[in-house]
């Protein structure tokens, strides 16, 4: 399966290598650099590259290429999914997944990788098990380490979680405050055309949980309207049969943060688009200039305010600068990346935010015939746009009374307005 792993920065610096079988020279990464040279952006580097003797499967995350070297047939998704899991583990351990944090914690990274793969086959990928074996670095511990001359990263106890039927949960969890929080986060993916009509819209949601409960609690989460859910995928802890039969989520939760489920809302229900956008972006044939006029307003918000509205526009290359005025928020134009960002903030009913002004184009260049698309970002607190509601959360198996909380948020996912 996975022979070796190289971590490569966007600048082409290989800053970590790990081999699970015989050593493979780091020169294989040259093929990646070659592909990188051809691609216009790092995202465009093909995830699978065939070289004469090896195959490189890579993912690009947080400005790092995770490059796995394999020699024989293996499902590419298997490797890709694993590499993402590695990146997520680093994120979880170090708070961020960056070149600097990996270099700083290289020993922990090595120890983690050693546990995650055996002979190139995934061994322990559950965060809960890994944390039992290798303690994540904390400020306190690093201070203690410096003073006492190094305590160990490695857990003194043996990871018994690996042996249990529920490998995702640590044993012997203890909290003074027992609490379980669930965030229902929904994202609207939509494409609106020039006139504002919906070309395509759907709602995708996730339920992220933060469960800090002692012992071995068995939770049951039920919905008021589970029928809304069209397609679901679960954390392995969820008992699928109970869901099939009764449409309730029954599970023994992992300890800490995890994604309980992600779902797709039935497409037949029309999606309520919370904002309307009126826009007019035009470039004049002569005089190498253009005009931009964007208005955003709240539409169907079910009485909630829309916050954190940001509109991002990728301008054509010939746009040199923008001279814009707005009645709300701030707008900035970066002439290097050609990105216009209009940070609006809250939308209120009385005053409709508007951004207008002129664009100056490179003189002599032909008028661009494409119009830029607007990407909209927004957030509505205390509302799940699909109407999904959690009915109740029950706990079995433990005596104490946990504190329970559910939060709803709606966000814009890939929300685009074509012009």
């Amino acid at each position: 399966m996975i022979h070796s792993l190289f971590l490569v920065s966007t600048a082409g610096h290989i800053f970590l290598e790990k081999h699970w079988k015989s050593v493979i020279s780091r020169s294989v990464c040259d093929y990646l650099f070659e592909a990188q040279g051809k691609a216009s952006a790092p995202e465009n580097v093909p995830p699978v590259i065939a070289t004469p003797h090896h195959y490189l499967i890579s993912v690009y995350r947080d400005r790092i290429f995770f490059v796995a070297v394999i020699q024989t047939e293996v499902p590419p998704l298997f490797v890709i999914e694993f590499l993402h899991r590695v990146a997520e583990t680093f994120q979880d351990y170090f708070g961020e997944c960056s070149e600097a944090s990996i270099k700083d914690n290289v020993v922990i990274v090595y120890e983690l990788l050693e546990e995650m793969l055996d002979n190139g086959f995934p061994l322990a990928t559950e965060a809960n098990i890994l944390k039992e074996m290798i303690k994540p670095p904390t400020i306190l511990r690093s201070v203690v380490n410096t003073i006492t001359g190094g305590s160990s990263n490695v857990g003194g106890t043996l990871p018994t979680g690996q042996l249990s039927n529920i490998p995702w949960r640590r044993t012997g969890v203890k909290y003074t405050n027992n609490e379980a929080y669930f965030d229902v986060v929904e994202e609207i993916d939509a494409i609106l055309d020039k006139s504002g009509t919906v070309v395509f819209a759907e709602i995708q949601g996730v339920i992220d949980a933060c469960v800090k409960l002692s012992g071995m609690p068995d939770l049951t989460l039920s919905f008021v309207n589970p029928r809304l859910l069209d397609d679901v995928s679960f954390h392995p802890c969820v008992r699928f049969k109970r869901w099939e039969a009764e449409r309730v989520l029954s599970f023994i939760p992992p300890d800490g943060n995890f994604r309980l489920m992600s779902y797709h809302v039935n497409a037949q229900n029309l999606v309520a688009i919370p904002v309307y956008v009126k826009q007019n972006v035009s470039f004049f044939e002569t005089g190498s200039s253009g005009r931009l006029d964007i208005t955003v307003g709240p539409k169907q918000t079910m009485g909630k305010t829309i916050e954190d509205v940001v509109i991002t526009v990728h301008m054509p290359k010939v746009v040199l600068n923008a001279n814009l005025t707005t009645n709300q928020g701030t707008s900035t134009y970066d002439p290097v990346t050609k990105v216009l960002v209009w940070d609006i903030g809250k939308l209120n009913q009385q005053k409709v935010p508007n951004l207008k002004g002129s664009l100056s184009l490179q003189s002599g260049a032909p008028r661009p015939d494409e119009n830029p698309t607007l990407n909209i970002d927004l957030r509505i607190q205390q509302l799940a746009i699909s109407g999904l509601k959690v009915n109740r959360l029950n706990m079995f198996g433990e005596k104490y009374k946990p504190f329970k909380g559910v939060k709803y948020v709606t966000k814009a996912g890939k929300f685009q307005v074509r012009t």
Binding site: I14, P75, E114, N119, S152, R239, P316, R418
Partner: protein, 1017 residues
């Protein structure tokens, strides 16, 4: 103390000498920030020693400190690391190991430290030990001899009482790539394969491919280990052993037969990475063992391709009906499809993809669609995942268009997608285009053409071309759209359009001479060689449609011939030749000129082509025989090109595989076999207990008496397989012997014999049902149905003692048969034995005194019971779901005896056949007050699953839920038909949790007590 003091002194020396050393020799530290951290980590520690040491050392310390803080901190050399490793302070060792690991991570060579590191393999500190392992595995291959020093430590570790230590020792031992220790590894793997702990067995499975890659000679013994591990029943092992199987002996498909059903059933509980491997392997297995569920369709498609061409492929289902011999899916094939389906809900994209490919390759057409939704979900994931999924969707969408039709909009392209994703989405959209959807797809394409991403625009234009060729109705619309693009400002767009238009025009050139004219004009502006070549070819090919323009174009091209690209030059030659043949008057001189230019071109091909054309078209004295046919050669009607998807026919590779993605066979790829013509024997997958028993019996019969034989075999069968319920094994024995023996636990008397054949039939049926796990759910009515009781030894109670009854002994037992005349009654078998010298007459029931609601159905009066004889009769009592005794008088012709029958609570119910999900559903409705949970410690004798089943079914008349994940039993009470659900979940350390869900709380409580008692004995 002395030893401790040595260190700083030598460190000082080192620092001093190090200044003279070359930088290149000290690759320990790079100039980046990491050195500061380790220094600060080490220093306080060393300082402490120094202070303890006295003044001399103090000076050394300050010297060292000066060196460190003075900014010229010399990188320490390996000698220093060696010192630290040799020290007896764990913290120093740890620090050294951390730095060595950091070196390895950066790809620096640290192999010369090997002897120093390997010494620490037995270090007490866990972290040091782990890091030493990491080092060892990395460098052992280079330092084979020294690596041997560490082996004994691991060998000791293999014997450790702690399973985790055993596992980790095996893991490292097998990762050391040193050929000398192969026999040791082999031995260790074999031992570990039969270890008590599943975790160690899992590690053994992991070690198999390691050893195999080190020495392929070991294949045969390794296959034996694999075979053994394949039979393992724990989910922990399943994934790893299949991985080993795929790595070592993927061709030994015969090893899978016996484990097929088990793997299918375990699948949902296996960890996600194992699931992927198992599903892929089972796909291959199924292709060799089952029949093609779409076979009829393939036949029809071949036979009547013309008629069916263009019609939607989804119609296949109806065609199936026409077939004479209906196709019946092998139940095992169905089992695989059913058990993999829930995994579509996995959060792991690789698992979802694996199931999708399994359905694509194995399921009947109509069912493949279920995977579409999950695949579309993956499009929300990371772009790499999207990339792979879209590749597979592209292949699927060619074969099974209908599958993704409803999700068309999910493939719409966003301006923020990476180009490679955009292009793949276009591919899918093009594949999905039908007469009905083409209009909206084309409207989408129109927006895409305006995109800033020019590569994507070019791909869009090609996609439009493909839509136009595939769907005749829109050809003109597309062509018009493309012609409009010819006036686009971007040259790439124009060029791509020209190429596509050329292909489209070839289909019906007559109607489009104006387009050809338009394109002829473009030749002056377009610089992209491919586009120029395409235009020239078009004009040459259809010069008859543009007789006036063509010679002029040739004239212009002749002028610029020398500065053109090669492909354009070739097309100029082509054009010249064609014009010469059709219009030699006007173009003779021009052609000569062009041919002369080409004659002296730098490129071989062009010179060759010129010579070839000249010979063909210019009549010479020699009169080449071919020149007569020149016109036919050049102006033959050429078939229009078919614009095909690059994903066509890619499905001969297993979807989701690397080979499919690259469209090249990757190393180690296992071909997906074709469906067999006739199904191989399905019985190879049977893991019947019976077979084994028969085999053994043949051998063993001579040595054992019958009864011994039986019990022994029952035992051995059970230890081999705990898949069936306890009833199977004992009834199987019963069946193979003649029924003359006493029952296993001997509670029954001869009189019961008459009941036996009847029950046995029921049991046989049941056994077939449950054992083969075919689950004919569809045949059974869906509602919970009472089934024949699970057999267990019947307990006989005394109704009337021989002495009290003055020679008449009466016993009773609960027959667990449905009482024929009244379904609410419990069957009680009553057995009279006459110990008197005289015969007893007129045995009958009299004056029953019953609680309200209770009813009794008396047995028919027994007229005569001769002395010494025994007779059995049956009566029915409706206990009203309570354990109140039924009191009545038993009369003979002379005496009356007051007797009472008190039923154990377990007899107040009848078993119910139920599937697991049904069970869970019902259980979900019986929560709270209706649920009673108890934890218990299992008795010595009931450690195995089988024993538990037997105990529970003996204590209560309930039926086991087939293939349940836990031990689940279902029954319902006789009178009120309320469900009684019993679950026993065994945990490690001999405890178990017993859950009883029952609407009748009293019954529930009492049942818990009874079962508790039965299990903890």
């Amino acid at each position: 103390m002395q030893r401790l003091l040595q260190l700083p002194a030598s460190a000082v020396n080192m620092v001093k000498t190090a200044q003279g050393q070359e930088e290149a020799k000290s690759p320990v530290l790079t100039p980046d920030g990491s050195q500061a951290t380790w220094y600060s980590a080490v220093r306080p520690d060393e300082l402490r020693h120094l202070r303890a040491g006295g003044e001399v050392e103090d000076a050394g310390a300050s010297a060292e400190e000066g060196a460190n803080t003075g900014g010229q901190a010399q990188p320490l050399r390996h000698d220093d690391l060696k010192e630290m490793l040799d020290s007896n302070k764990d913290s120093l060792k740890l620090e050294a190991m951390k730095r060595i690991v950091a070196m390895m991570a950066r790809g620096k060579n640290a192999s010369d430290l090997f002897p120093a590191v390997v010494k620490n393999v037995a270090c007490k500190n866990i972290e040091v030990k782990k890091l030493v392992y990491v080092y060892l595995v990395r460098y052992a291959e280079e330092q084979q001899d020294l690596a041997l020093l560490s082996i004994s430590t691991f060998q000791r570790g293999l014997k450790d009482p702690n399973q985790l230590i055993r596992a980790s020792a095996l893991r490292v031992l097998s990762s050391i790539r040193v050929t000398i220790i192969i026999p040791i590894m082999m031995l260790a793997i074999k031992d570990a394969a039969s270890d008590m702990s599943p975790y160690v067995r899992k590690t053994a499975a992991h070690a198999i491919p390691k050893l195999y890659s080190l020495d392929p000679e070991q294949k045969e013994p390794l296959i034996e280990v694999i075979e053994k591990l394949l039979a393992d029943k724990t989910t922990l092992v399943a994934g790893s052993v299949v991985m080993a199987f795929e790595g070592v002996c993927p061709e030994r498909i015969d090893l899978i037969h016996k484990n097929y059903r088990k793997l299918c059933n375990l699948l949902i509980d296996v960890e996600e990475w194992g699931q992927v491997v198992i599903i892929n392997m089972l796909t291959r297995y199924a292709r060799t063992q089952f029949l093609n569920p779409n076979a009829n369709e393939v036949l029809l498609e071949e036979g009547e391709e013309k008629e069916f061409y263009g019609s939607d492929e989804e119609e296949g289902k109806e065609e199936k009906v026409e077939k004479k011999k209906p196709y019946v899916m092998d139940p095992d094939h169905r089992l695989l499809l059913r058990n993999t389906k829930p995994l579509l809900q996995s959060r792991n994209a690789a698992v979802v993809m694996a199931v999708a490919q399994l359905y694509f390759h194995l399921a009947p057409k109509a069912e493949v669609g279920v995977t579409a939704k999950a695949l579309v979900r993956l499009l929300r994931s990371h772009s790499e995942v999207q990339f792979v999924v879209l590749q597979n969707v592209a292949t699927m969408s060619i074969k099974r268009k209908g599958m993704f039709e409803t999700y068309l909009k999910s493939f719409y392209i966003r301006s923020t997608d990476p180009t490679q994703i955009k292009v793949l989405k276009l591919e899918v959209l093009t594949n999905l285009a039908t007469e009905t959807s083409i209009s909206i797809i084309l409207r989408e394409f129109q927006t895409y053409i305006k995109s800033m991403d020019k590569d994507f625009v070019a791909a869009t234009i090609q996609a439009i071309g493909r839509c136009a060729t595939n769907i005749g109705e829109v050809r003109d619309t597309c062509l018009n759209g493309l012609v409009q693009l010819l006036s686009n400002r971007d040259e790439l767009v124009v060029a791509e359009s020209v190429v596509v238009i050329k292909k489209l025009l070839q289909m019906q050139p007559e109607q489009h001479s104006d387009i050809i004219k338009h394109m002829a004009k473009l030749i002056e502006n377009i610089q992209v060689p491919m586009a120029r070549a395409s235009i020239l070819w078009l004009i040459g090919e259809y010069c008859e449609h543009v007789p006036k323009i063509a010679p002029d174009v040739l004239r212009k091209m002749a002028k610029s011939f020398t500065s053109e690209e090669d492909i354009v030059k070739l097309q100029i030659l082509n054009l010249a030749a064609k014009l010469y043949l059709t219009n030699s008057k006007q173009t003779k001189l021009l052609t000569q000129y062009v041919l002369n230019l080409a004659k002296y071109d730098q490129n071989y091909d062009i010179r060759d082509r010129a010579r070839f054309i000249r010979q063909l078209i210019v009549p010479t004295d020699k009169g080449g025989a071919l020149s007569k046919y020149a016109k036919k050669l050049f102006l033959a009607l050429k078939p229009a090109p078919i614009l095909e998807s690059p994903f066509k026919d890619r499905d001969h590779f297993q979807l989701g595989s690397l080979s499919h993605l690259l469209n090249v066979k990757a190393g180690g790829y296992q071909e997906l076999p074709d469906w067999p013509e006739t199904a191989p024997d399905p019985s190879v997958r049977n893991v019947e207990v019976m077979d084994k028993r028969k085999e053994k019996k043949k051998v063993e019969k001579p040595f054992y008496s019958d009864s011994e034989d039986e019990s022994r075999l029952t035992e051995s069968a059970d230890s081999d397989s705990n898949t069936g319920s306890g009833s199977e094994s004992s009834s199987a024995t019963e069946e193979s012997d003649s029924g003359s023996k006493s029952e296993d636990s001997g509670g029954e008397s001869e009189s019961e014999q008459q009941e036996k054949p009847n029950r046995k039939n029921g049991l046989e049926l049941l056994k077939l049902f449950w054992h083969s796990r075919v689950l004919f759910v569809c045949i059974l009515p869906c509602s919970a149905q009472t089934i024949s009781p699970t057999f267990s030894s019947l307990k006989t109670y005394e109704l009337l003692h021989r002495l009290t009854g003055e020679g008449l002994a009466v016993g009773y037992c609960f027959g667990r048969q449905p009482f024929v005349r009244d379904p609410h009654m419990v069957t009680v078998q009553i057995q009279f034995t006459n110990h008197m010298d005289t015969e007893a007459r007129n045995l009958r029931v009299r004056e029953p005194r019953l609680q309200s609601g209770m009813r009794i159905k008396e047995f028919p009066e027994i007229e005569v019971l001769p002395p010494g004889e025994t007779v059995t009769t049956v009566m029915g009592i409706d206990f009203c779901d309570s354990t109140q005794a039924a009191n009545f008088q038993l009369c003979t012709h002379t005496r009356k005896f007051c007797v009472s029958i008190q039923p154990p609570v377990g007899e107040l119910m009848a078993p119910v056949f139920m599937l697991e999900n049904e069970f869970k559903k019902e259980q979900g409705q019986l929560m709270g007050m209706n649920e009673i949970k108890e934890t218990l410690v299992l008795g010595e004798a009931c450690q195995s699953d089988y024993a538990i089943v037997q105990r529970v079914t003996a204590a209560a008349n309930v039926g086991q839920v087939p293939c349940g994940s836990d031990q689940e039993f279902a029954g319902k009470t006789m009178t009120s038909n309320s469900l009684v659900l019993v679950t026993v979940i065994t945990k490690r350390d001999r405890t178990a949790q017993l859950t009883v869900n029952c609407e009748k709380m009293v019954i529930g409580t009492m049942l818990v007590k009874d079962i508790l008692h039965a299990l903890s004995q």
